[in-house]
C-alpha cells in the first residue's frame, strides 16, 4: 500500500497499461507540452512518439482513429483534454464506437478507453460542463467516474481489460487528492458501487468528486449527531444500485449529489431508480444537489452559487431529515 495522489495512481495505471505493446496513447498536448494536468508527463520521453501520439486539435479524428485501431486489435487510450471538447467527437463516440459491436452482429468490438476530465474554475460557459449523463445515456458505452486514487488505478485497469468502449471520467479538481493505493496488480471491476461511509439516518448517493464533498458534509453532520451513509456509485453505466438500495432500505432517506445539471441529468436516473425500487421504504421526498441550471458564469460570485458546495449538501440532508 502506498499513499498516492489521483494523478500518481493514474500514472501507475497508465505505465502498467503500456506494458502491453498494443497500447498507445493519442491526445492533444500529452507529449511535448508535458500533459495538461501532468498525468502523462514523462511518457513521451519514456515510450517515444510512436506510442505517445501528440495529436492535432481534432477530437473527431482522435476518437475516430482510436476506434478504428481498437477494432483492428490495438488497445488505444484516447485522451480528450476536457470533456467539453468531446462534443466534437460525439458522432464517432455515439454513432460508431458505441454501435459497432451490436450493429455488425457481435463479430467484432471496440476495446477503447477514452480518458477525459470534468472540472471548473472560472472557465466560463463552454469549459465547465459535465456530459456524464450524455455518455451514460448511450447503450453500448461503459461510463466510469472513480473518486479515489485506488479506484482510479483499479478501474483504469478494468477499463483496459474491457472489450467495449469505456468513457473514463476524471476531474481537474481531483488530481491532487491523496489516498491509499494497493501495489501491483489491482483491479476494481466496472459496474460495482461501494460504501464510502457508514451511517444510519440518511443515504447520500453520489460519485466522482462529489464523494469527497459528501464525506465532508457527513463529517460536519456527525458533530450534530446525524449519521450519514455515503454510497459511491463509481460506474454510471452499467449502473449498480444494489449498495444504494440496501442503504436506503435502512435509512429511508436519500439525497443524490451529482455535479451536473439536474433536469435529465445523472441524478434524475439515480433518484428514479431509488423511487422505483425503494418506494416502500421512502420516508421523505428525495432531494437532489446539482449545478444550478445555467451556463456557467465566469464571475466568481456567480460561479460559486452554481457549483455544489458542502453547505448545499448539508442543507439538503437537513431538509430531508426535517432538521434545521
Amino acid at each position: 500500500m502506498a499513499i498516492l495522489t489521483v494523478r500518481e495512481a493514474l500514472q501507475q495505471a497508465l505505465h502498467e497499461a503500456m506494458q502491453d505493446e498494443r497500447v498507445f496513447i493519442i491526445g492533444e498536448d500529452i507529449g511535448h507540452y508535458g500533459s495538461t494536468y501532468g498525468v502523462t508527463a514523462g511518457f513521451l520521453e519514456k515510450y517515444g512518439p510512436e506510442r505517445i501520439r501528440d495529436a492535432p486539435i481534432a477530437e473527431a479524428g482522435i476518437l475516430g482513429l482510436a476506434t478504428g485501431a481498437a477494432m483492428a486489435g490495438m488497445r488505444p487510450i484516447a485522451e480528450i483534454m476536457s470533456v467539453n471538447f468531446s462534443l466534437l467527437a460525439f458522432d464517432i463516440i455515439i454513432n460508431h464506437a458505441a454501435k459497432i459491436y451490436s450493429m455488425f452482429g457481435g463479430k467484432f468490438s471496440v476495446p477503447l478507453v477514452m480518458r477525459t476530465t470534468n472540472g471548473w474554475t472560472q472557465l466560463s460557459a463552454t469549459h465547465s460542463q459535465s456530459f456524464d449523463a450524455m455518455f451514460a445515456y448511450i447503450p453500448g458505452l461503459k461510463v466510469v467516474a472513480p473518486a479515489t486514487p485506488a479506484d482510479m488505478k483499479g478501474m483504469f485497469r478494468a477499463a483496459m481489460a474491457d472489450p467495449d468502449p469505456v468513457i473514463f471520467i476524471e476531474h481537474t479538481l481531483m488530481y491532487g487528492i491523496k489516498g491509499e493505493v494497493p501495489d501491483g496488480d489491482y483491479i476494481v471491476p466496472i459496474g460495482k458501487s461501494v460504501l464510502a461511509r457508514e451511517g444510519r439516518h440518511l443515504t447520500v448517493v453520489t460519485y466522482s468528486r462529489m464523494v469527497h464533498l459528501s464525506l465532508q458534509a457527513a463529517e460536519l453532520l456527525a458533530q450534530e449527531g446525524i449519521e450519514v451513509e455515503v454510497v459511491d456509485l463509481r460506474t454510471l453505466r452499467p449502473l449498480d444500485m444494489s449498495v444504494a438500495l440496501e442503504s436506503f432500505k435502512k435509512t429511508n432517506h436519500a439525497v443524490v449529489v451529482t455535479e451536473d445539471w439536474q433536469s435529465y441529468g445523472t441524478s434524475a436516473e439515480i433518484a428514479t431508480r431509488l423511487y422505483e425500487a425503494g418506494f416502500d421504504y421512502l420516508d421523505a421526498p428525495i432531494q437532489r444537489v446539482n449545478f444550478r441550471e445555467v451556463p456557467m458564469p465566469y464571475a466568481k460570485n456567480l460561479e460559486l452559487q452554481v457549483v455544489v458546495t458542502t453547505e448545499r449538501i448539508v442543507a439538503a440532508i437537513k431538509k430531508v431529515l426535517n432538521r434545521s
Binding site: Y33, D54, P56, Q122, S124, Y298, L302, Q305
Partner: protein
C-alpha cells in the same frame, strides 16, 4: 511569398532613409495614404495592448483575474495591422486569445478589464471572462474558446452580409492549431463555394498550446491549405505592422469586391506561455529570447523614430498616457459591482421575445 521583416530592418539601418531613397515600401505608401498621425495611432494601439496585458498578468498573479488567461504579447502587429483595414460595417470574430483584437477594434479597455475582474460593467457583463470579449456595437462578435468552431459562425455572418448586401466583410482570427480540425475545412469550403466575404487570418505562432507546428500539421505552410479549395491565400510577416496592414488590406478588398474569401497566414510568435499556467517545456529560453529581440512593437517604434515620423519624446508621452489609462481601467474594474443573481434565473439564459411587428396580427 511576401516581404519579410528582415527587409524592414535593412531599410531602417541603411544610411539613406526610406523616404529619401524614394523606394516604395509599405511604409512610404502608408505614410502617403494615411499621414504621420495615423502611423503613430497604430503605435498607440500596439502599446495599449501590450501594457494592458502586462497589467492583466499582474492582476492574475494577484488573483483579481481568474480562469484561463491567454496573452497576445508579441503578436500585436498582426491584430492591429489586419484590423486597421476594417470599416464600421465590417465584422470581427476571434478565439480565446482575444484581448489584442478587441483593443484593435476599438473596444474601450475599462469594460475589458472589468470583464476580466468578473464585474457587471464588463463587456460581457462578467459572464465570459478573458476568453469571451465581445461588443456588438462594434461588430466584434466575440472570442470563442472552442478551437475552430467560430470559423463557421464567421461564415454565417458573411452570409448575412452577402444576402442583405451590407458591403461588410468578416475577419476571423485563429491559430495554426485550429487548421487541423474539420470546422476549418468546412468553413473554407463553404466560404469559397458561396463566395462569402471572409478574410481568414491564421496567426501562426508555431505552436498549438505546446505542440510544435511540424508535430501537429502535415503542411506547415498553412496558407497552402487554401489550395484545396481554389481559394486565394498568402503568407505574410505578421510582425511587420505596415506589411500586415497592406497585404491584409488587399485580402479585405478582394473579399469586399465579391471575389470570395482569402486565407492569410501571418507568421508571428507569442512571447508568453500559452496561458498563465504554462511551464513552456516545449521551447527553449533562447528561442523565446531570439524572438523577443525582434519585438514587433520595438521595431515599429524604432521605425517611427528613425523615419522622423515621431520623436521618441512624444512616443514616451504616449506610453505614459497609456499607463494612466490602464491604471484607470483597473480602478474602474475594482470599483464596479459584481453581476447580479438574475443571471442564475431564466432571464439570464433566455432572451426577451423577438420584436413582433413582422408577425401577422391576426395570429397574435
Amino acid at each position: 511569398m511576401q516581404k519579410q521583416r528582415g527587409s524592414t530592418k535593412a531599410v531602417t539601418s541603411a544610411t539613406q532613409s526610406v523616404r529619401s531613397s524614394m523606394t516604395s515600401t509599405p511604409f512610404t505608401r502608408a505614410l502617403e495614404h494615411l499621414g504621420a498621425d495615423q502611423l503613430v495611432e497604430y503605435y498607440r494601439q500596439m502599446m495599449l495592448i501590450r501594457r494592458f496585458e502586462e497589467k492583466c498578468q499582474e492582476m492574475y498573479t494577484r488573483s483579481k483575474i481568474g480562469g484561463f488567461l491567454h496573452l497576445y504579447v508579441g503578436e500585436e502587429a498582426t491584430g492591429v495591422g489586419a484590423i486597421s483595414n476594417l470599416q464600421p460595417q465590417d465584422h470581427v470574430f476571434t478565439h480565446y486569445r482575444d484581448h489584442g483584437h478587441a483593443i484593435a477594434r476599438g473596444l474601450d479597455i475599462n469594460p475589458l478589464m472589468a470583464e476580466l475582474f468578473g464585474k457587471d460593467t464588463g463587456c460581457s457583463r462578467g459572464m465570459g471572462g478573458s476568453m469571451h470579449f465581445a461588443d456588438v456595437t462594434k461588430n466584434f462578435w466575440g472570442g470563442y474558446a472552442i478551437v475552430g468552431s467560430h470559423l463557421l459562425l464567421a461564415d454565417g455572418v458573411a452570409l448575412q452580409c452577402k444576402m442583405q448586401k451590407t458591403n461588410g466583410v468578416v475577419m476571423v482570427f485563429f491559430g495554426d492549431g485550429a487548421t487541423n480540425g474539420g470546422e476549418f475545412y468546412e468553413a473554407l469550403n463553404f466560404a469559397q463555394l458561396w463566395k462569402l466575404p471572409v478574410v481568414f487570418v491564421c496567426e501562426n505562432n508555431l505552436f498549438a498550446m505546446g505542440t510544435p507546428l511540424e508535430v501537429h500539421s502535415s503542411v506547415t505552410e498553412i496558407y497552402r491549405k487554401a489550395n484545396a479549395f481554389d481559394m486565394k491565400s498568402m503568407r505574410i510577416d505578421g510582425n511587420d505592422l505596415l506589411g500586415v496592414r497592406e497585404q491584409v488590406g488587399e485580402a479585405v478588398e478582394h473579399a469586399r469586391s465579391g471575389k470570395g474569401p482569402v486565407l492569410v497566414e501571418a507568421m508571428t510568435y507569442r512571447f508568453r506561455g500559452h496561458s498563465a499556467q504554462d511551464t513552456q517545456k516545449y521551447r527553449t529560453k533562447e528561442d523565446v529570447e531570439k524572438h523577443r529581440s525582434a519585438d514587433p512593437l520595438e521595431a515599429y517604434r524604432k521605425l517611427l523614430i528613425d523615419e522622423e515620423i515621431c520623436p521618441a519624446s512624444r512616443l514616451d508621452a504616449i506610453d505614459v498616457q497609456i499607463d494612466a489609462e490602464v491604471d484607470a481601467s483597473v480602478e474602474f474594474a475594482d470599483n464596479s459591482p459584481v453581476p447580479g443573481n438574475e443571471w442564475l434565473t431564466d432571464a439570464g439564459i433566455y432572451a426577451a421575445p423577438l420584436e413582433t411587428q413582422t408577425v401577422d396580427p391576426t395570429l397574435v
